[in-house]
Assembly symmetry: C2
Homo-oligomer: 282 residues x 2
């Protein structure tokens, strides 16, 4: 089935089916009737940008996100320059793919560095530095606040409120926010912050918070319905804020990665239809 | 050495030396020259309240906290009643021990329940219900906000701001907050919240955030200096807020539990003198 209406806003983030190459993932999305795909740069590099653009155009899929830019918390000037160059390349790729957003994962504390506020300030500064380049290419930079579990080693921006404090310094078409249930489900006042975000929500990513957490916390994410997150309530809030974009399923999970990717896509479509889709139009 | 001045505000939380019984821990504190101890109810029950009070009086130690009350997020009326009864007993024990506070760990989501806000509201309601009983016994209830890593299964109150929103409904002598570096180091605006807390800070608990997180996240805490937390900065903020109480080292860590407890106490005293003590009087 192609572009089945019920799944037209569902997007497969490539990390959910990590064993698939980009061509395989595109084929999988089309066969499952999804409307969009979230692309990772590592898999993009394997096929090259031109070929990826051709495959995407041929498929009719939207690119709901390019993952990922960011990792710009370094205090070292040479490293900061390298990070900026890398992010500019990512912006070029996002432009070519017409991605709804380039997801920015801020990065953690530099080794041995314990000044979290300074790292946060550097992340904000690095975003500001990228905006003109992204603006010229009509690329939206999506700041991804991350669960505090990753504050030390992956993402120093920890709440949607904090991401919005940064994003609001820029035009919404230039800088948005990525709303990911795994990262934000616990945030006090999250419904108000989602409402505040409004048109700045450039990506709605979903997966569940499961307990006990797996040993590798990077792989601690679960299929919707397997954990503690109230997807109907969260989805209602996102819809109420005006979000009309794609809903991207991004699950880092070793067990899922060991399963046949086609089955994972089927399960995620079922869960989406049960827990998310009915609450998108309220 | 007894009550060495430099260590007079250092307290050993019993969980740091989990293999010690209460009498052993009291002895260990006295021998190391610490001024206080944080007592756990499980070890307290082993010796009985009267004997514990006798041992504490004899030792000259302060009881910096009794751990722990709380776990009152259930939606079941019978369970809620049992939780309240249990908390009243804990209040009686805290009164007898003259503990600076009874630490309240809210508890997580009930099994199958995904309404986090409702669980938070029930926790706040349960605290309100305990206040008169605690007030009559001059026991301070210390709300412990917990790292969001535990929001699902241990503590639904996730930030100091959120704990203060609840605590501020009551007199500071009745309801305070527990400021634990592990739980709060990542909170945006934490220095402002610590300042806001002021006299409500009834316990300052310290341990480090280490990466990679150990497989069992309950045991993810590290010795000060082994991880990513800026203890001088955090301690300065707590001192600036007016805190003059004990500094309690609470570390859940399987490797430390396997080490000889006396050595653990020595190491924690060294780290305290290096990373915390110099910043308490600024």
């Amino acid at each position: 089935m192609i572009n089945d209406a019920a799944l037209s806003r569902l997007s497969l983030n490539q990390r959910t089916t990590a064993s698939w190459s980009l061509p395989e993932a595109i084929k999988g999305c089309v066969e499952a009737g999804l409307g969009a795909i979230g692309i990772w740069r590592e898999q993009l590099a394997e096929v090259g940008l031109d070929e990826a653009c051709r495959l995407i155009a041929e498929s009719g899929l939207r690119v709901s996100s390019l993952c990922r830019g960011g990792f710009f918390t370094t205090a070292d000037p040479a490293e900061a320059q390298a990070a900026e160059a890398n992010n500019r390349t990512a912006i070029d790729e996002a432009a070519a793919l017409n991605a709804a957003t380039l997801v920015l994962v801020p990065g953690g504390l530099p080794p041995g560095d314990r000044d979290l506020q300074a790292a946060r300030d550097r992340a904000a500064g690095a975003i500001a530095q990228l905006v003109p380049y992204a603006h010229e290419r009509s690329v939206n930079l999506g700041i991804e606040p991350m669960n505090p579990i990753y504050a030390a080693d992956r993402g120093v921006i920890s709440t949607l409120a904090q991401a919005l404090d940064i994003a609001e310094g820029f035009d919404p078409t230039d800088v948005g926010v990525v709303v990911d249930t795994f990262h934000l489900w616990w945030e006090p006042g999250i419904a108000d912050q989602v409402q505040r975000a409004g048109e700045r929500i450039v990506s709605y990513q979903i997966c569940d918070w499961i307990t006990p957490l797996p040993a590798d916390t990077l792989l601690a994410r679960g299929m919707m319905g397997d954990g503690h997150i109230d997807f109907p309530a969260f989805t209602r809030a996102v819809a109420l804020a005006g979000y009309r974009g794609d809903i991207e399923v991004e699950i880092f999970n070793a067990e899922l990665w060991a399963a046949p990717p086609g089955e994972v896509v089927s399960t995620m479509a079922e869960r989406y239809l049960e827990l998310v889709r009915p609450y998108l139009d309220e």
